[in-house]
């Protein structure tokens, strides 16, 4: 709190990005965790919440006659422009935010103060929801070829790896330790994914310290052990995800790549995914295009191509496809590495696993995948996403790219994923929000030292609790398309990759996520669910009544059922007017924003007159209004009347659509 120079500024204007002449007048609040703008307009009092950890840059612009403009760019691609009347206030806000947006200690992060009012037991349960030991068991491990190794207990061999690692049975501790000494940061080859059907596996490591001529017997034995663990193939692919030029440059520094002559039966392959600096720069360029107020066709297409962003996405996908094909079609195991084996390697391994295994395309499976390939294997979340003040050159949208790859696949295979776009967007949001402890720190070791699980809550439990919001209505588990490997051409062409406006333009008024066919289906599904639950409740009640009034016949009750239950449904809708009303009735209204259950988080705020409808997404409260209306939930209370109408409309719309 000592960093907040001024907790409240009045008569601030929030500029509408599309039509700058329109600006909402309101009050700006600075709290320990959020910047909050509350509009003065009495009928809406619309609130805009921004988490400090979401702030990417703050720019003070030249003072004009109307005041002092402040431009805030967020990591979730929201852009906020405020005009503060007094230069001094603006300066105070600016200085405060600069400090608040760049915490220096983990303890300053939101997750240490965020309290969703769960008891200790619930919190602990949340943390065990995603269990990697279970996941390895699901893959069919341990078995005759692979075993759990305790070589890294207490992080003795590699401090960025987890303690629980699977290695080939024939790899002795001596081989592992020897190999680890020959690998950058001691990240020796370990199992990432095991393909039960044909014993092929995806392994990961960092680059070898081969320089121009160095060899390491143990490392060679390690690769041989991986090959032997797959009796179906007599070779192993070694995939270096870097461009060849970069890998060669590394040799001069005593690092580099495997020499095919030294390793028996390996097939070496470069895949040119650029490094984190290129990616950071590319995203920057694409965001400049997104920032254009109303981009022309030409601005957009040129900007998109020049940013190179989609080409980078394609490169990652191409690598994933290559590996998935090697494993499923050739039955060969693959060792993947880049430089340190925690950025490109994580991207490529997880894309390949996603293509191979339908389990990772389910809600829970996807959480497991991120837990495994990203969190446990030591992806540097803290450095890449700038959670704590650090070197800006370490920041890069590595997991963002992975999330986008998943979205691109969802676009291409609309029925293959159990989750929807919103799920991806919310995960991206929380990687930066630091509201949950999952993505803190750079390794498992650091997280244990910080006692993350005892002091913070798990995002996975939160998402799981609200899973109704994240389901893809087109998905069906038993559908042939959702089983087995996704059939992609060897290298899908560039025009199959689309610009993801749902992510990068999601705060643009004109380009909000629209009510697609999918949203309609979701609304229908939700409604069905509500009705079913109501039916159940009514049946229970009926049973009770029947017990009391034994003379009531079964036939009679059956007849009265349909009419009564529809009557119940409408009356319920009209009573519930505010989000608060719903909190006690959560079950029958499965659609709510992810943090609807976390309203209590507002308790930590100093201003108690602020009621929060959506604290963690900190978006405009009408961000998803269209869809929300359909699901019988008014996002900001008080405007419930239209939602009944739209409910009716939906029925008829649906009818038109289905006959189309």
């Amino acid at each position: 709190m000592e960093h907040i120079r001024t907790p409240k500024v009045e008569n601030v204007r929030l500029v509408d990005r599309v039509s700058p002449k329109k600006a909402a007048l309101g009050t700006l609040y600075l709290t320990a965790t959020h910047v909050i703008f509350v509009e003065n307009s009495p009928d809406t009092r619309k609130e805009t919440w921004i988490l400090h950890s979401q702030i990417s840059t703050i720019e003070k612009q030249a003072t004009t006659a109307t005041g002092c403009p402040l431009l805030i760019r967020c990591k979730n691609f929201q852009i906020i422009q405020l005009i503060i009347p007094q230069e001094r206030d603006c300066h105070d806000v600016y200085v405060s935010l600069i400090r608040l947006a760049r915490p220096v200690k983990y303890e300053e992060l939101y997750c240490f103060s965020f309290n969703p009012m769960l008891d200790k037991e619930e919190r602990e349960q949340g943390w065990v929801l995603i269990n990697l030991s279970e996941e390895y068991k699901r893959m069919g491990l341990p078995n005759n070829y692979w075993q759990l190794s305790d070589v890294n207990r207490e992080y003795r061999v590699c401090d960025s790896y987890p303690t629980e690692l699977y290695v080939p049975k024939s790899a002795t501790a001596h081989i592992i330790v020897g190999s680890s000494k020959f690998r950058s940061r001691r990240r020796f080859p370990v199992l990432s994914y095991y393909y039960k059907d044909n014993h092929a596996s995806i392994c990961r490591s960092s680059q070898p310290l081969s320089g121009f001529s160095a060899r390491c017997l143990e490392d060679e034995q390690m690769l041989q052990a991986i090959r032997k663990a797959n009796p179906g193939s007599d070779f192993v692919y070694v995939v270096d995800t870097r461009p060849k030029l970069n890998a060669m440059a590394n040799r001069a520094a005593g690092k580099g790549y495997e020499n095919e002559d030294n390793y028996s039966n390996i097939k070496f392959q470069f895949i040119g995914i650029e490094n984190i600096h290129v990616m950071r720069n590319s995203l920057q360029k694409m965001l400049e295009v997104c920032e254009l107020k109303s981009p022309s066709m030409s601005d957009f297409l040129w900007g998109l191509e020049n940013s190179g962003w989609l080409r980078h996405i394609k490169a990652i996908m191409d690598a994933g496809i290559f590996i998935a094909k090697a494993v499923s079609e050739e039955g060969a195991s693959v060792l993947v590495h880049c430089s340190d084996g925690w950025d490109r390697t994580a991207q490529v391994c997880s894309v390949a696993s996603l293509l191979l295994d339908p389990h990772y395309r389910t809600l829970k499976g996807f959480m497991v995948l991120i837990e495994k390939d990203w969190i446990s294997f030591g992806h540097k979340f803290n450095h890449r996403y700038g959670n704590l003040d650090g070197d800006p050159k370490e920041i890069s949208p590595v997991i963002d790219q992975f999330i986008e790859c998943v979205w691109q696949l969802m676009e291409q295979f609309p029925c293959a994923f159990e989750f929807n776009e919103r799920f991806l967007i919310h995960i991206q949001h929380h990687i930066y929000s630091c509201q949950f402890g999952n993505f803190l720190c750079n390794s498992q070791k650091e997280r244990r030292e910080l006692k993350i699980q005892e002091r913070t809550y798990s995002l996975w439990a939160h998402l799981w609790k609200n899973r109704a919001d994240y389901l893809n209505p087109l998905f069906r588990a038993d559908h042939s398309q959702t089983q087995g490997t996704l059939h992609l051409p060897t290298t899908p062409c560039n025009f199959m990759y689309k610009f993801w406006s749902g992510m990068y333009n999601r705060f643009e008024k004109g380009m909000q996520p629209r009510q697609s066919v999918t949203d309609y289906l979701m609304a229908v599904k939700e409604e069905t669910q509500q009705l079913e639950e109501e039916l159940e409740a009514l049946e229970e009640r009926l049973e009770k009544i029947q017990k009391v009034q034994l003379n009531c016949t079964k036939v009679k009750s059956k007849q009265s059922e349909p009419s009564r239950h529809s009557g119940f449904s409408t009356s319920d809708n009209s009573i519930a007017n505010t989000p608060q009303d719903y909190s006690g009735n959560m079950k029958s209204f499965p659609s709510r924003s992810p943090s609807q259950g976390d309203e209590d988080s507002a308790l930590i705020l100093t201003q108690d007159n602020l009621k929060s409808s959506d604290p963690d997404l900190s978006a405009n409260s009408d961000q998803e209004s269209g869809v929300e209306d359909l699901s019988c939930r008014s996002p900001s209370g008080g405007e419930h009347a239209p939602s009944e109408d739209s409910g009716k409309d939906r029925d008829s719309d649906e009818a038109v659509f289905l006959t189309a």
Binding site: V278, S296, E305, C415, A416, P489, T490, P492, F499
Partner: protein, 666 residues
């Protein structure tokens, strides 16, 4: 979903299937049709036949086709059929060199490449064909597809004569044809335009002019004699009325004159007309001059010819070369930008009518190109009736067919003037596609309907899109039926489309009025912005006003039409088809559940019959369904490495490998 009226399950045919009235002109055997354009010269042997309707390839081993993959099939045009009108360009390959073929050939090519207007590409190897047959088939194909043709030679007429008995008009087809006074009155009544506008029959028998339909609608106080004055030019013709009373009108410009006297006469004529429609009960009129400050037809022509090249791909090497520069090539064609401008113009007009309660008068030289495009788009956005299938067809009939769009010239069906070939109607369909794509629940039809419609432009068994005006159609179809000798069929007078011709005139005659009516452009932009933003910030009512998003990222490539033949672009078991088949499955499920409920109500028995399946094997369908049925696994360079790097200036960053930062740590 799938247009069963055009595509049906049929028996396999090994023989050539001829339509009534169709005649074989020439053929060649042992022609090798390349299965894929890969450098691997893989192909199928067969006969290449040219009839007066199509070019057809008959594979020697037709049975090789997998039966259930051909479950859906175009009834008229087979997979290896190209109607003569669908041929765009023909190339010959001589010693590995590709040359355009036309006119008389001295030397015959060893390979024939045919680019189609529906963007298919065919490659035929003639190396194993007898020389005589090569000569006959190549010159036959070139002559029948490229040489100028007389209208009476269109296959349409032979077909109509031969198949006359078969053409029974479907009584269920409610498409309003607008070929009677009654139809126009009905439309006036539907839109409540009958208070201020009247249907007139002054042009019955095309006595006033051949450009206008026999019946049309004009403002009530306007004397019918005025129509005759300049053959229908300078007359505000009603298109549609909005619920608030404002109307969309169109007017073809008066002929350009040098003579001052005539100019004076024209001016006073127009002044009179304007006075009539400027006073109550008419709303304020805003004139929208489409020939001077909007798109030119030439721009459309140039853009499309660049754009289509992106999809006419001879071999996969070429494909992968262009793939790398996909977005910039797309941009340089500016086709998407043209779409965006059309949509924007339509929104502007919608804003005038809806928000400002103004009448809008579209002005164009002949009121038959951009007028048709813009007025149809406005109606599609404002009138939900136009978003039903019947309503959409009626709209096309009203604005395009009766509106006198020169399909014959714009599609260059007669090959008489390449300069006149402009895909205005296709541009319209692409604009509609953007709307359908952005708001699928608002339309009764799907993109597949639009794609099939765009194909039908080149199938000369439907007369809809083969005439320049209703007059031309009536005279020709009529005479044919009566078997009278045709009068010399000349295509309608040349319609130059260069803007300067009308520019001058408009400025002279209407200058003052326009400047008075057009607000400062800033204000205009603000109105537009506000209207656009406020509409998009509200939840969409699919039965009301419908506006498209026109931000750059929201205008997309109509993948189904343009990419459907490209195997590299297919997604096996994915794409929109997956969504569709999934929806059908869900509908089936709902239906069977419904049946279960019904049965429960009627009897206590459990149901046994399963609902019939609509689209089985949906997982095996590719995203190119129902058009291309090939499921070839693309055999492509295994990993294209970052060859594009030269394009960027990121070299320094690429060199700055991330681990260099902390070398000392190791």
């Amino acid at each position: 979903e799938i247009h069963t009226n055009e595509k049906e399950v049929t028996e396999k045919e090994v023989t050539l299937h001829l339509l009534p009235g169709e005649q074989v002109l020439c053929e060649a055997s042992t022609v090798l049709k390349y299965v894929q354009e890969d450098s691997s010269q893989h192909g199928v042997y067969g006969r290449l036949v040219c009839t007066d309707f199509k070019i057809a390839f008959l594979g020697d081993d037709e049975s090789a086709l997998d039966n259930d993959e051909t479950q859906f099939k175009n009834k008229v045009i087979g997979e290896n059929d190209i109607t003569l009108h669908c041929v765009d360009q023909i190339y010959g390959v001589f010693d590995e060199k590709k040359k355009t073929l036309f006119g008389q050939l001295k030397k015959y090519p060893e390979k024939l490449i045919i680019h189609c207007k529906d963007l298919r590409v065919f490659q035929f190897c003639l190396r194993y064909t007898k020389e005589e047959e090569v000569k006959r088939i190549v010159s036959g194909i070139i002559h029948h597809t490229q040489a100028p043709k007389l209208l009476k030679r269109l296959f349409l007429f032979s077909y109509a004569t031969a198949a006359e008995n078969n053409t029974v008009t479907d009584p269920k087809n409610h498409t309003v044809m607008f070929d009677s006074l009654k139809d126009w009155c009905w439309e006036l009544e539907r839109t409540k335009g009958n208070m201020k506008y009247k249907a007139v029959s002054v042009n019955e028998g095309y006595e006033v002019c051949e450009r206008l339909p026999a019946y049309f609608v004009i403002p009530t106080p306007l004397p019918e004699e005025n129509v005759q004055r300049f053959q229908g030019h300078g007359i505000p013709i009603w298109c549609w009325s909005c619920h608030n009373g404002s109307a969309l009108l169109k007017m073809s410009a008066l002929p350009k004159e040098q003579d001052d006297g005539i100019l004076q006469i024209q001016k006073s004529f127009l002044d009179r007309i304007y006075k009539t429609i400027h006073r109550p009960p008419y709303e304020i009129v805003k004139t929208e001059d489409l020939s001077s400050n909007f798109l030119s037809l030439q721009e459309i022509q140039t853009a499309y010819s660049k754009f289509k090249q992106l999809f006419l791909i001879d071999n996969s090497t070429e494909f992968w070369d262009t793939d790398i520069k996909w977005f910039s090539l797309l941009e340089s064609s500016s086709w998407l930008d043209i779409i965006r401008r059309c949509l924007k113009k339509a929104i502007e007009i919608t804003e005038c009518m809806e928000a400002q309660n103004m009448n809008v008068l579209l002005l164009e030289e002949n009121a038959s190109d951009l007028c048709c495009l813009i007025s149809s788009l406005v109606q599609l956005m404002m009138d939900p009736h136009c978003r039903t299938r019947i309503g959409f067809q009626s709209l096309i009939q009203k604005e395009w067919v009766m509106g006198g769009h020169c399909f014959l010239d714009r599609c260059n069906h007669l090959r008489q003037n390449d300069k006149e070939e402009v895909p205005v109607f296709l541009l319209f369909l692409d604009c509609v596609w953007q709307l359908v794509h952005q708001h699928p629940p608002a339309f009764e039809f799907t993109e597949t309907y639009l794609t099939v419609l765009s194909d039908s432009l080149y199938i000369p068994i439907f007369s809809t899109f083969f005439f320049n005006s209703p007059h031309q159609k009536d005279t020709n179809m009529h005479q044919r039926q009566l078997s009278l000798p045709l009068t010399q069929s000349k295509s309608s007078p040349k319609r130059g489309f260069f803007r300067e011709e009308t520019d001058h005139l408009i400025k002279n005659l209407l200058g003052k009025r326009i400047s008075k009516l057009i607000n400062s452009s800033d204000e205009l932009q603000d109105n537009f912005r506000e209207f656009y933003d406020s509409w998009h910030s509200k939840p969409t009512d699919y039965h009301g006003l419908l506006l498209p998003h026109i931000e750059g990222p929201e205008i997309k490539v109509w993948a189904q039409r343009y990419l459907r033949w490209i195997p590299e672009a297919q997604i096996l078991g994915g794409g929109r088809v997956a969504t569709m088949s999934k929806l059908l499955e869900m509908m089936e499920e709902v239906q069977s559940l419904q049946e279960k409920i019904d049965e429960r109500h009627h009897s206590q028995q459990a149901p046994q019959a399963e609902a019939p399946c609509l689209l089985r094997n949906s997982a095996r369908l590719s995203s190119l369904f129902p058009f291309a049925l090939l499921q070839r696994h693309s055999s492509k360079p295994v990993l294209p490495t970052s060859g594009w790097k030269a394009l960027g200036d990121e070299d320094d960053l690429a060199k700055q490998e991330d681990e260099f930062v902390d070398l000392g740590d190791v």
